[in-house]
């Protein structure tokens, strides 16, 4: 249900009163409707589904996730679970039994 692909905004224009963007998907360029992401700027990334940008891609979050994957297994013995450690840092205390965002 969810074939949505990340792309980078090249330029933005109004067409028929609709906010449209030219988006670059790694060398493939397509027109995309930007109405659902009114704050998205040129140079930023979004996931695109059937010609619509649906959510901004968070660079920092992606980087952190990959870093944590890389640390898997290495930190385990010394420092315990890297996710719990990061969550504890973020929350300022022990992880809480609610929605985690990592």
């Amino acid at each position: 249900m969810c074939l949505a692909v990340p792309g980078r905004v090249l330029d933005i224009e109004e067409r028929d009163g609709t906010r449209m963007a030219t988006v670059d998907f790694g060398g493939v360029v397509k027109e995309v409707c930007l109405e659902y992401l009114p704050d998205l700027r040129v140079g930023e990334y979004a996931i695109v589904h059937v010609g619509f940008a649906l959510q901004r891609l968070d660079e920092e979050s992606a980087r952190q996730t990959l870093e944590l994957f890389a640390e898997l297994g290495l930190l385990q013995e010394e420092f315990g679970d890297p996710w719990e450690a990061a969550a504890a840092d973020a929350a300022g205390s022990e992880p809480v039994e609610e929605v985690h965002n990592q």
Binding site: M1, C2, Y36, V50, F69
Partner: protein, 375 residues
């Protein structure tokens, strides 16, 4: 492609797999409710690489597969009319209705066109003012905002010759229905990442609590899926049942507010029949009364539809995770991607098609041989 390639890294996949292998001590049954995730799992061989104790049950996450037979038959009827240009996503063209599919309607002279985006269908309506353009608006919550915007645009621009045949489905009621079934074996869910990009995560804590199942919002690349499994297994091993976001780069807790506002405006919740499963209350969206003029069901009175599913088709049991595709008697013989009995064999992430296309090697030899087509 950025944000794709990094999340396919085999070395990182290995580490995630090692962690899962090290964590699991008991058998667990997890379900993913997204056709795109099913496709990714099978296509990359993730299910083969997970420990035997972790079972992945493929849920009804393929909107193509669950679109009710009656709606398909209505689509076929409308598409057959000479004044109609019928536009659809490619996925729907080969889904069998009662006795035929959209491809066949095309062969018989119907003007059936594949489009990438619903906006393309609107453009076709503007370019063909003397024809009636109908768009087949199916999908989960990910596709609903594009379809909603298109209807909204049609109304705003005063385009008269456009309408949409709507059959949207929602994930949370499906999870509820699955977990309420007495034969349910599911102990944890991988929630659909892009659905949550739109809707946020607010509908899931109540389900996690009521049924005591961990629900982990999961992406689509191999590392995303492995991480979703890893976090779900970890919760299960610890006896936890919370909602967790393993796809943070594309999912915020509140989802996309602009999209949700449009959905509120254009659609209203309705009961919906899921092909192979039955009616799940409040599990679908239809056009709100304000947009009735753009509702194809309203515009084209489609009478006398008598639906008939092939008796041998057990796709409903497959969709609920009660039957593995190759356990069905018709699998690979009567029912193949070329001659599908039900929708799960048509769509490439329907479980039956996925098993047929990618997994024949793992099946008992006789089943695999029957299933291999001879050219």
């Amino acid at each position: 492609m950025k944000y794709i390639d990094e999340f396919q890294d085999p070395e990182l996949a290995r580490r995630l797999l090692d962690d899962i292998h090290a964590t699991v001590t008991r058998p667990w049954a997890l379900m993913e409710v997204c056709g795109g995730q099913t496709h990714s799992i099978i296509r990359h061989g993730i299910d083969q690489l997970l420990p035997d104790k972790v079972e992945l049950i493929h849920g009804p996450g393929c909107p193509v597969c669950v679109t009710p037979l009656e709606v398909i038959d209505k689509a076929l009827e409308i598409a057959s009319r000479p004044e109609v240009i019928f536009c659809s996503f490619g996925d729907m063209l080969r889904v069998p209705g009662t006795g035929r599919d959209l491809f066949q309607v095309r062969g018989e002279g119907g003007d059936v066109r594949v489009v990438y985006s619903p906006l393309d269908a609107l453009r076709i309506a503007q370019q063909n003012p003397d024809r009636e353009v109908v768009f087949f608006g199916i999908g989960f919550e990910t596709t609903a905002p594009p379809n909603a915007m298109t209807v909204h645009q049609a109304r705003k621009l005063g385009i008269q010759n456009f309408s949409m045949l709507v059959s949207h489905v929602r994930v949370p009621p499906a999870i509820e229905a699955i977990m309420s079934s007495p034969s349910c074996r599911v102990q944890g869910f991988l929630a659909a990442g892009h659905v949550c990009s739109v809707m946020g995560m607010g509908e899931y804590p109540e389900l996690a609590e009521r049924f005591r199942v961990p629900i982990v919002v999961t992406g689509f690349e191999p590392l995303d899926i492995l991480e979703g499994v890893r976090r779900t297994v970890r919760q299960l091993e610890r006896g936890e049942h919370t909602v967790d976001n393993a796809y943070a780069r594309a999912v915020r807790a509140e989802g996309n507010p602009a999209a949700r506002a449009m959905l509120e405006d254009v659609f209203e919740v309705t009961d919906r029949a899921w092909r192979g499963i039955g009616v799940i209350p409040q599990s679908g969206w239809r056009l709100a009364p304000k947009y009735r003029a753009y509702d194809a069901e309203h515009r084209f009175s489609v009478e006398g539809i008598r639906t008939q599913e092939p008796a041998e088709c057990r796709s409903g049991e497959v969709l609920q995770g009660l039957l593995k595709p190759h356990e069905c008697e018709a699998f690979g013989t009567l029912c193949t991607p070329r001659t599908p009995l039900g929708a799960t064999m048509v769509s490439s992430e329907g479980a039956c098609a996925a098993y047929y296309l990618y997994r024949r090697l793992d099946m008992p030899a006789t089943k695999a041989q029957e299933a291999t087509p001879v050219v």
